[in-house]
């Protein structure tokens, strides 16, 4: 809430709709609606054309509202601006909904002329004394050239599965029609999910044909779990992505604070952000490289965590990178992640979806809710792919128990003779298992244990992996996020992490883990001996925390963090060492300058001017989109985060800035 944000409200009164604009807060409208038991819908609307240092003019008395369903509103604002008088510019607003731009008090003829300029669907309301009658709603829709989708699913006769088949088919049907009209690029996502569902159902049917065993029962349960998860994600996509379309009054959003226009524009921003990273990573598939290149190439991998001290070969200066060797490894037939907001899950990755915290709809411009956190979640998907390639089994072979016998033998042979060169995929697996075993042994002892107590069986190894893979995975994710999304800027990464972690329960519950995660990530790529890398990382960490506090971001967590690095530094270093060992090997084998360059796109981004340094990114709220100058969602979000962290916001209105960032990102064409 702030002085720039207005709220378009509609109260239903005896088959008529009273339309008003509230300034700064919708609470008065809510109070009145409650007092009189009226149906109230509203959404924030934000003035589109600001002047530096000036508070936007208040909207005039409402006589008409025109909604434009522009897919690229940032560019549309750029195209419209020269066509409008200053009075008209004061009446242009943008939103987080599907009706991304609205113009107040334009006549029907003027609205139609602007629609020709903008080239999108339009809905026009004529108001009489602030009241709208349904028969004075005018809708202009362009004919949609819809392609059909063949439903290759049918009832299976298994009641449980059929429930999910119907749910998924119904959601895809709703989304297919809607995406054809408003978001055609996402039709591919739906056809992939339909094919995935078909294959899951078919696999489940196959498992039912043989004699049931505990193993096949587990597999069937895993498939049912996947179908539930997929169905739930699709439901989110339907309720968030398809509401707010024309006719607006017939498409109410389930988000109470966006009930009039919905949040489909903001969801499109999340989708673009995700597709942008997916497209970059698709150019070089980690799993293809592991299976074809790393399985055949041998290397010596360090096996002794106790004496591990990094070295020059782990430095970011090392060229050429291992991951860039060996020709083309692009990924085909991928399944894009569904994206939506979730209050319950916050920022989270799952197999089929990515969620952003619902708070990001209102306060994305606060560090706690920045879209940059989404990059961390998307990296989880990349790491899921890597872990499957290193440790997973397949339906085709289905030999997980035998595989783990082999994994154990390989690990044991290598641990006994770590100087032996092994295939890189095996080496990476050994390194992760070594980290998991070390984490299991991270209990402080006064003296050495009996030798017989040190044995690790095949089942112990598997158990250690299951128990500590989450932490191992977090380090692999941190590397990817730091390297690809944050362009290896340690202070910025520290500030971003800790500004957001002040609002998350886990870092408060387990501060030591999060301190070590930070230190290890920013130490990665230095190639420095462990103790030196640790000390250097502490300096960077405390610098970052000092800068946060200087920008007014404070937390008791920071006091605890300083205590840990000062008083508990020996314990922190003990945990740092195995993690530093792990992240060094990940850095050496997964750094990819070619993917990083695709994410940065410094040559074409109009605001980057060739620099990866976030502080030099020149995005301005007074500049509007141009047709052929794509903005990198990552660089844009990072630059916005830098302004947040340095308390240099261009306007003091959370909702306005949040919606603006969303508008810019939602307007980019990505993933091609």
């Amino acid at each position: 809430m702030g002085t720039f944000t207005h709220y378009l409200t509609v109260r239903e009164e005896q088959s008529q709709f009273r339309v008003t604009v509230e300034r700064a807060t919708p609470l008065e409208a809510i109070r009145e609606a409650l007092d009189h038991a009226l149906d109230l819908r509203y959404s924030p609307i934000l003035p589109a054309y600001l002047s530096p240092g000036a508070v936007p003019a208040a909207p005039p008395v409402l006589e008409a509202i025109t909604f434009y369903f522009a897919r690229r509103p940032y560019q549309v604002l750029g195209r419209l601006r020269p066509e409008l008088t200053q009075n008209e510019r004061d009446c242009v607003f943008f939103t987080e909904g599907l009706a991304s731009i609205l113009v107040v008090n334009a006549t029907a003829a003027r609205s139609a002329k602007l629609r020709d300029e903008v080239g999108c669907d339009m809905e026009h309301w004529t108001l009489r004394d602030g009241v709208l009658n349904r028969d004075e709603i005018m809708i202009h829709r362009a004919a949609v050239n819809s392609a059909g989708l063949t439903l290759n699913l049918s009832a299976t006769g298994d009641d449980t599965i059929d429930v999910y088949v119907e749910q998924i088919a119904a959601s895809i049907t709703t989304l297919w029609s809607f995406y054809n009209a408003y978001l055609p690029s996402e039709c591919h996502t739906l056809s992939q999910l339909l094919e995935l569902t078909r294959q899951l159902v078919s696999r489940h049917a196959l498992l039912r044909t043989g004699d049931p065993t505990m193993e096949t029962l587990r597999q069937r349960n895993a498939i049912v779990s996947a179908l539930v998860e997929l169905s739930a994600s699709l439901s989110y996509s339907v309720t968030q992505g398809t509401t707010g379309g024309a006719p607006i009054l017939g498409n109410r959003s389930p988000f109470p604070h966006h009930s009039l226009l919905g949040v489909a524009g903001a969801v499109r921003a999340l989708t673009n952000f995700t597709r942008y990273l997916e497209a970059a990573f698709r150019t070089r598939s980690a799993s293809a490289l592991i299976q074809k290149q790393y399985a055949t190439k041998k290397a010596q991998m360090p096996g002794r965590i106790s004496t591990y001290d990094s070295g020059a070969s782990y430095s970011f200066a090392m060229r050429p990178e291992e991951f860039e060797q060996g020709g083309e490894f692009s990924a085909t037939n991928t399944v894009p992640l569904l994206t939506h907001f979730s209050l319950r899950h916050g920022f989270k990755e799952a197999k089929f979806s990515i969620t952003a915290a619902s708070e990001s709809l209102t306060a994305e411009c606060l560090p706690a809710w920045t879209l940059m956190t989404l990059s961390h979640e998307i990296m989880h998907s990349r790491v899921r792919d890597i872990f499957q390639s290193l440790f997973g089994t397949t339906w085709g072979v289905d030999d997980a128990a035998d595989r783990w016998d082999v994994f154990f033998r390989n690990f044991a042979d290598w641990y006994r003779k770590p100087e032996t060169a092994v295939p890189v995929d095996q080496g990476l697996r050994n390194v992760i298992l070594n980290f998991c075993c070390a984490t299991e042994r991270a209990t402080i002892l006064p003296e050495r244990s009996k030798e017989s107590d040190l044995d690790v069986t095949r089942d112990d190894l598997f158990r250690n992996f299951i128990k500590h893979r989450r932490l191992a995975g977090e380090y692999v994710v941190h590397f990817h996020d730091y390297y690809f999304a944050y362009a290896r800027q340690p202070k910025l990464y520290v500030m971003s992490l800790w500004a957001s972690w002040t609002t998350v329960a886990a870092p408060v519950a387990r501060p030591m883990e999060y301190v070590v995660r930070t230190l290890v990530t920013i130490a990665c790529g230095t190639g420095a001996p462990s103790r030196d890398a640790f000390k250097g990382a502490i300096e960077q960490l405390t610098d970052g925390i000092d800068a946060l506090e200087a920008a007014g971001i404070t937390s008791p967590l920071f006091v605890e963090l300083r205590r840990i690095v000062k008083v508990d530094s020996e314990k922190a270093f003990a945990l740092f060492k195995p993690a530093y060992y792990l992240i060094d090997q990940v850095r050496q084998n997964f750094a990819s300058p070619s993917i990083a360059a695709l994410i940065d796109r410094l040559e074409t981004d109009p605001f980057a001017e060739g620099s990866t340094v976030a502080q030099e990114y020149a995005a301005s709220i007074y500049v509007y989109g141009e047709q052929d100058k794509p903005v990198s969602p990552i660089r844009y979000s990072l630059a916005a985060l830098v302004r947040q962290l340095s308390a240099e916001q261009p306007v003091h209105d959370l909702q306005w800035l949040t919606a603006w960032n969303s508008l810019v990102i939602s307007s980019q064409e990505v993933g091609a």
């Binding site: 597999q219 037939n333 990349r382 997980a400 044991a412 006064p446 069986t457 329960a505």
Partner: protein, 78 residues
């Protein structure tokens, strides 16, 4: 960025590693056991109790340990 085949195989792997328990919390079959551990996945400590079928491979003497020296410093030894 994950291929369709790979996602299918991930589900096969999960059947072995987690016995079919859902990944996402708040489902009737996968209620979280405590909040902080369960945000990332619903499986929690249940996963630790999974046992494999094979125990025929001899054990490894994995001798890495974390020791506290007399002066209070910590040292990994192996």
């Amino acid at each position: 960025m994950i291929t369709l085949d790979c996602i299918l195989d991930i589900i096969c792997t999960e059947a072995y590693e987690y016995g079919g328990i859902p990944e996402v919390p708040d489902h009737k079959h996968g209620a979280p056991q405590n909040y902080s551990a369960a945000k990332r996945d619903a499986r929690g400590v249940v996963a630790e109790d999974r046992r494999s079928y094979s125990t025929s491979v001899p054990a490894l003497r994995y001798d890495l340990e974390l020791l506290q020296e007399a002066d209070g410093t910590l040292r990994w030894v192996e």
